[in-house]
């Protein structure tokens, strides 16, 4: 199915049920103040009115705890490792926001770099998980994807993008897998091709909603002018030495909320655990906010205090990752860290502080060819 299809909103549960053949389908569900992806249950139905999930969906491809291999510590098999069977079932996530999808695309570049450094755990789950996005028509106050090379109706990382048009839903295929998926949907419910007058109207409505969403973000006091331009121009050393860091760090608790709720954070810790005659190697999420993160066996710690760790986090997002990813910011603007930081440290404010400080910082004496201008 090459072109987009328009479905009645009432058909969405039926489509999800059809997509559920041979797959586990997950949709965002709200309980109280928390929203999370849960297995789709046709009897409970679904709502397209939610902001975003409290935690990002990265745990579907990068679980918080993952067993990599097992081994025996005793007996004839001692020392031999058995890779944990990659039992990733086929899944479909419905309602992924474009920011989270962009994060998946970004993490693809981290976990699947080339033949020799592909992370097989990520790669297999990615291959077995289909992503159907839901375009954002009413961004939250904390959203800022437009400042992070993203957009409320962007399709990067998705297989299909759905757009809520009120009584109708527009499904737009993005990848080949998405096209096949859309064909499955067309079997389950009547989809009107988005062409001609009817299609043009629907596409026009989607476009109107997209512009409306972008306008909401543009009206936020935090978004206009938010850019990485000066940060990318100045040298790493200069950004590192900016005087803004101690004040930014002073109210940080150094917990792991920002890193664990962030869709692009991907640091992990690998550890062996043994019990009796058997053992396993597990990978757990780790956070650069922790003192232990950079603690050396010698006792030395290159990031000994809060200031170094807080600086590291923002530089990773806005300096190191763009350097490694050809200019792409390491942040997708989902706003989770803004909403959930217990100390309300606002990444948008931090970036603006970095930007302003980079504009006025004197040239670095150590990096003569730094683009100061």
């Amino acid at each position: 199915m090459d072109e987009a299809l328009i479905f009645s909103r009432l058909d969405v549960p039926r489509i999800l049920t059809a997509w559920g053949a041979g797959r586990a389908v997950y949709i965002p569900e709200t309980a109280g103040a928390q929203t999370a992806f849960a297995l789709f249950n046709p009897e409970r139905g679904l709502s397209l009115h939610f902001g975003n999930t409290t935690l990002s969906p990265k745990s579907f491809l990068f679980p918080q705890t993952e067993c990599l291999l097992r081994f025996a510590t005793r007996g004839p098999e001692a020392g031999l490792c058995q890779t944990e069977p990659l039992g990733a079932q086929k899944r479909l996530l419905f309602g992924v926001r474009p920011c989270d999808a962009a994060a998946f695309a970004l993490l693809d570049r981290v976990f699947v770099q080339d033949d020799r450094s592909t992370d097989p755990f990520w790669a297999l789950r990615r291959e077995r998980t289909l992503l159907v996005g839901l375009a954002c028509n009413s961004p939250d106050e904390t959203c800022f994807c437009t400042a992070m090379d993203g957009g409320p109706h962007n399709t990067a990382g998705l297989d299909i993008l759905a757009c809520d048009l009120g009584d109708e839903v527009l499904l737009r295929p993005v990848t080949d897998r998405g096209r096949a998926l859309l064909a499955e949907a067309a079997q389950a419910a009547t989809g009107v091709p988005a062409r001609g007058e009817r299609g043009g109207a629907a596409l026009g409505q989607a476009e109107t909603r997209r512009m409306g969403a972008e306008a909401v973000m543009a009206r936020s006091p935090f978004v206009p002018g938010l850019t990485l331009e000066a940060v990318s121009r100045r040298s790493q050393r200069t950004v590192h030495a900016l005087g803004i860091w101690p004040r930014i760090a002073e109210t940080c608790l150094n917990c792991g909320v920002c890193t664990f709720t962030c869709p692009t954070c991907h640091c992990f810790d690998i550890q062996d655990e043994t019990k009796g005659g058997s053992g396993r190697r597990v990978r757990n999420w780790d956070t650069c906010m922790s003192w232990l993160f950079t603690a050396h066996a010698s006792g030395h710690n290159p990031r000994p205090t809060k200031v170094e760790r807080v600086r590291q986090r923002f530089m990773h997002k806005f300096k190191y990752m763009p350097m490694n990813l050809g200019g792409r910011p390491g942040c997708v603007g989902c706003g989770r860290c803004v909403r959930q930081c217990p100390a309300n440290i606002d990444i948008r404010e931090v970036l603006r502080a970095m930007d302003m400080a980079c504009r006025i910082a004197p040239p670095s004496s150590l990096i003569p060819d730094e683009a100061v201008s």
Binding site: F60, A88, Q89, K275, G279, R280, V282
Partner: protein
């Protein structure tokens, strides 16, 4: 006597060196028999027991955990067991509150001369823990649930 083929619990005991461990030594001298399922760890004082040790034992798979010290007033270090009394009371209450079977925890005051009390407590504790079966609630296994 417990049949060798029946379930044998794994009980970790922390005994203070002066009184309770002394009682265990005396039980040996007197040739008193008590179940071998109790593995004793000698510590200087019941006051040195941190809840970390006890939870670690449970996490590693201990079916029962036993802490024993000198009677209040008789602590070799004067007041260690008085600190232990408060601490372990709160700890016991907390574990009971979260639903850990309280028959899996035993706290006793056993003086160095009370070898018979030690024997009785050991037999009763092993029987009680055996009746509960292997611990399941706070035991770390190497099974992981992944999506």
């Amino acid at each position: 006597m417990v049949s060798p083929h029946a379930y044998r619990p794994n009980i970790v005991a922390f005994f203070c060196k002066w009184c309770s461990y002394g009682a265990a030594d005396l039980a040996g001298s007197l040739r008193l028999r008590y179940p071998v399922d109790v593995r004793i760890i000698r510590v200087p004082c019941s006051g040195s027991i941190s809840p970390q040790f006890l939870l670690y034992a449970l996490l590693q798979g201990a079916d029962g955990v036993w802490v024993s010290g000198c009677h209040p007033g008789d602590c070799h270090y004067r007041i260690g067991n008085l600190h232990a009394r408060r601490r372990l009371t709160l700890f016991h209450n907390m574990l009971d509150y979260v639903g850990l079977e309280h028959a899996r925890l035993l706290f006793t005051w056993i003086a160095a001369s009370e070898a018979h009390k030690l024997q009785q407590q050991a037999e009763a504790f092993v029987a009680a823990v055996s009746a509960l079966g292997p611990a399941r609630r706070l035991v770390k296994t190497l099974e992981t649930c992944t999506l």
